[in-house]
């Protein structure tokens, strides 16, 4: 300690007081504006996510203590050890202390080791995959659309495919609350990532390998819908690759699966004879034709063949010639499948036919005369 009492000039006192006021005001705003709450993850909705959320809180507590301690020491040094006019002699030239070095090596090592063990415990439950999950679904992520194949409990046979990813369009990943759902992930093209913020979880969808994970949504969450989206850059339509998770009561879920399975078994009615369908193919994320033409005022159909690999979905929508205003919206068709889309009559003019999944690559001109 210095032998002579230090005199603080009034300006220094004022500066310190100002700093204290600024820091206090900042903290007040931080809490009042809800920023402290914003430093925690969104509300968890699965049993796994609750554990992640709790782990986050523990780490946040440790982080806050370390942050306040270290920033406090820095600010204290700045305020307390400023050089003053009377400081002509050198301060004590201390080169170090082995005792201190050992202390601040051992204590942080112990702290991170505890955090590591806690993380590992949580990981073992969050990442666990059971042999007999209640529900098995395969998520297929292709540029730039999600599809969900519902499988039999043994995971071997496909019951039906939900190819509409958003709830607003009548689709989504429909799952039961309170049951254990196993999701397997496959990609036909590039790397994607299955991410639902409310699950506090994501898992990459790698081409050439299958990733699996499980989740159990809280029983109280039936009726809720959560947005999810691709979290690994997958190209030009990356941000559009969104989907909804639709939570149903187990009984409603069973009815849903039954209904959709039955619908998938029905063979489509043969087309009325006499109606002509235009031919259109897709391969390598391109239509084989850039121009189509039909007669004005007459309903028409397009027989569409998707020759891309399974998981890579396309459709043929009709839009205004500006390419954005949608006139007739059609469901997507998976790679390797063909379909006949029926369209209502159009007035004479020029329109755009376009794939809603790949609008940048796949469009053409539809002439109606």
């Amino acid at each position: 300690m210095s032998s002579s009492p230090r005199k603080r000039s009034t300006s220094a006192v004022r500066a310190i007081a100002l700093l204290v006021i600024v820091v206090a005001a900042f903290c007040a705003v931080f809490f009042y504006a809800g920023w402290w709450d914003a430093m925690f993850p969104v509300k968890a909705v699965t049993s796994q996510a609750h554990q992640v959320s709790e782990l986050y809180t523990v780490i946040m507590a440790v982080a806050t203590v370390v942050f306040l301690l270290v920033e406090g020491l820095i600010i204290w040094s700045i305020l307390r050890y400023r050089r003053r006019p009377e400081d002509t002699e050198l301060p004590p030239q201390i080169h170090g202390s082995n005792v201190l070095e050992v202390i601040w090596t051992v204590i942080p090592t112990a702290v991170v080791f505890v955090l590591f063990v806690m993380s590992l415990n949580t990981l073992n439950t969050v990442d666990a995959v059971s042999k007999t999950p209640d529900v098995q679904i395969r998520a297929v992520a292709g540029q730039f659309q999600w599809q969900f194949d519902y499988l039999t409990p043994d995971g071997k046979t496909k019951l039906f495919t939900e190819s509409t990813p958003l709830a607003a369009n009548g689709g989504g990943l429909v799952v039961p609350a309170g049951l254990n759902v196993q999701l397997s992930l496959t990609s036909p093209d590039v790397i994607h990532s299955f991410y639902v913020p409310r699950f506090l979880f994501k898992r990459d969808v790698n081409p050439g390998m299958v990733n699996r994970f499980e989740f159990t949504i809280d029983p109280t969450e039936a009726g809720q819908t959560y947005r999810g989206q691709c979290a690994e850059l997958c190209g030009i339509g990356h941000w559009t690759m969104q989907f909804d998770v639709v939570v149903k009561l187990p009984s409603d879920f069973a009815a849903y699966v039954k209904e959709r399975t039955a619908a998938a078994l029905v063979t489509p009615a043969p087309r009325p004879s006499g109606s002509v369908a235009l031919e259109l193919k897709a391969k390598d994320i391109q239509y084989d034709k850039k121009d189509l033409s039909v007669a004005a005022g007459q309903a028409f159909a397009i027989h569409f063949t998707n020759s891309d690999p399974a998981g890579l979905a396309h459709d043929v929508d009709i839009r205004q010639s500006d390419g954005t205003t949608v006139l007739q919206d059609k469901p997507t068709t998976d790679g390797g499948k063909d379909v006949t889309y029926d369209y209502t009559a159009l007035k004479a003019g020029t329109y755009t036919f376009i794939c809603s999944v790949h609008p940048q690559n796949m469009s053409g001109t539809l002439t109606v005369k």
């Binding site: 914003a38 996510a49 030239q93 790397i191 790698n206 030009i236």
Partner: protein
């Protein structure tokens, strides 16, 4: 007996200004050109970032005409900032300062040094030329295949190939530079300059050079394989034809994680030079600091897969433990820095202000990194804006703060004139506010579920935070104006610096400002890591 006279080097061999700079092998001129080139790329990378932030200010696509251009913006922003700004900027400081600090007349291989320098603008021009040749790379700076392969909706066109070629050129520059540093440090130290008397900055450059030498050839191999895949029908990384996409990630991060330490260790070294000088004390725990630096370097090679926790293809517990452990030597450094200031006599010149900025901000980048070391938490945070916040607190709050501390500190040595203190402090205040305004809200928007690298969003809860970050990014841009003005004014009319304006203790301050081409007329005795302190105070200070 005949007398042999050797004609002294005189003004007759002096070469004119521009020609001299273009052909020089003087490490000081090369260092300055490294720094100028890096700063220009810093401004270019900054403009690209402003493009990204402008697009994200509001939902909807307003600024860029399509997502492809957006993807180019952030890909090129990161590539330019990492490979053409941070890494060469720190190499530039190393080039200028290391020979002076160890009392050497130049780098060991002056011509190779010039080659390392000139490969950089070549690589940079190749990279940026892609904008004129059909568009830049757009698969992210990580360029994961199959997205970076030549395939529909992948990376067709020249942009990705130019990216690969320019990175190989820049990598070659790094490798040559690191060999040069190692030989210089091991072979060209002045008498008395033992390894454990070297300034910490020299130690950090040494460890960094080892990292570069061991890691850069590995990423070069990944880039070569990707180039073969794209142009010569290879199938290394395409699963459709038997390759492995995850293999690329392993090779890529085996380089790119150590590269993070390449981007921060020399900045830590600079801080460790500046804090003691402006505290009038020696660095606390000199040897502990060296061991911590070596430990970070060694552990840095065993944590690469923490970038791949969500792939489902790596052994999670090992990489989690190693990542947690690397917090320990970083913590040791923090406590040593604070103890250096403890009971010192602190003065707040601009280099010290930026050094304190480094301490306060890099701390945040260290702490929020520990969240991602916990695998389950990383499952939630990976590839969200949280990670963007984390890496910018490390690279901007850490490296950039360190770079400006270094610029203000060594500018007087380089040019013989001081930078203006008032303008420096104005720059610091604007930059400090801008940095926090830009990157702190990214924690929150990441926790709210916003993934990185998306061109647009429709979630109303993300809008305000994004707008705040955009305002912050323009604030950072504004903070560059006082700096540029400061440099132009101070070069002409700044206060004359003298040999040692900061009362510093390392050898570069023992020669004139700027130093002569051969660096030293004579060297003081070197008996500790602070030879100039010993000269001023004798042994009494110890």
């Amino acid at each position: 007996m005949a007398t042999t006279t050797i004609a002294p080097a005189t003004a007759s061999t002096y070469r004119g200004g521009l020609y001299e700079w273009l052909t020089t092998t003087d490490h000081k001129k090369i260092g300055i050109m490294y720094i100028i080139s890096s700063f220009i790329f810093f401004l270019i990378g900054g403009l690209l970032a402003l493009g990204v932030r402008t697009e994200l200010a509001q939902p909807g696509l307003q600024f860029v005409s399509n997502e492809g251009i957006y993807n180019q913006l952030f890909t090129m922003h990161a590539t330019v900032m990492i490979f053409l700004f941070v890494i060469p900027m720190l190499a530039g400081f190393g080039n200028y300062v290391v020979p002076l600090m160890i009392g050497a007349p130049d780098m060991a291989f002056p011509r190779i040094n010039a080659l390392s320098l000139w490969l950089l603008p070549l690589g940079g021009i190749l990279l940026l030329s892609s904008f004129l040749l059909g568009g830049g790379a757009q698969a992210g700076w990580t360029s994961y295949p199959p997205l970076s392969e030549d395939r529909p909706l992948g990376s067709t066109g020249y942009g990705q190939d130019l990216w690969i070629v320019s990175l190989i050129l820049i990598g070659t520059s790094s490798i040559l530079g690191s060999i040069n540093f190692l030989v210089t440090i091991f072979k060209m130290r002045a008498p008395g300059m033992t390894l454990f008397r070297m300034p910490i900055l020299v130690w950090t450059v040494l460890v960094t050079s080892v990292l570069v030498l061991m890691a850069t050839p590995v990423i070069t191999s990944a880039l070569m394989m990707l180039f073969i895949d794209r142009n010569y029908g290879g199938h290394f990384f395409d699963p459709a034809t038997g390759g492995s996409a995850v293999l690329y990630q392993n090779i890529f991060w085996f380089y790119s994680h150590p590269a993070v330490y390449v981007m921060i260790l020399p900045a830590m070294g600079m801080i460790s030079e500046i804090l003691p000088v402006f505290s009038r004390k020696p660095l606390f725990g000199y040897k502990a600091f060296i061991f911590a630096t070596a430990a970070i370097g060694a552990l840095g090679f065993s944590v690469w897969a923490h970038h791949m926790f969500t792939t489902g293809a790596v052994f999670l517990p090992f990489f989690s433990l190693m990542t947690f452990l690397i917090a320990v030597p970083t913590g040791v450094k923090f406590f040593n820095w604070i103890s250096t200031m403890w009971r010192g006599q602190l003065t707040f010149s601009t280099p010290m202000i930026f050094a304190l900025g480094f301490l306060t901000m890099f701390l945040i980048g260290g702490i929020n990194g520990a969240f991602s070391a916990s695998v389950p938490v990383d499952f939630a945070l990976h590839d969200t804006y949280w990670v963007v916040a984390h890496l910018h607190y490390v690279l901007f709050g850490g490296s950039v703060m360190g770079v400006f501390a270094g610029l203000y500190y060594w500018f007087p040595k380089m040019f013989g004139r001081m930078l203006d203190e008032t303008l420096g402090k104005v720059q610091f205040i604007i930059m400090f506010i801008g940095l926090n305004l830009t990157f702190f809200p990214m924690h929150m928007v990441g926790l709210a579920g916003m993934p990185r690298r998306i061109a647009d969003y429709a979630n109303s809860g993300w809008t305000d935070l994004n707008l705040l970050a955009t305002i912050g990014s323009f604030t950072i841009a504004v903070s560059m104006l006082p700096f540029i003005w400061n440099v132009f004014v101070s070069l002409r009319s700044g206060k004359i610096a003298g040999d040692n304006p900061w009362e510093a203790n390392t050898l570069e301050w023992a020669t004139s400002s700027p130093p002569p081409p051969y660096n030293f007329d004579h060297l003081p005795e070197i008996r500790s890591e602070r030879p100039l302190f010993d000269l001023r105070h004798g042994k009494t200070g110890h």
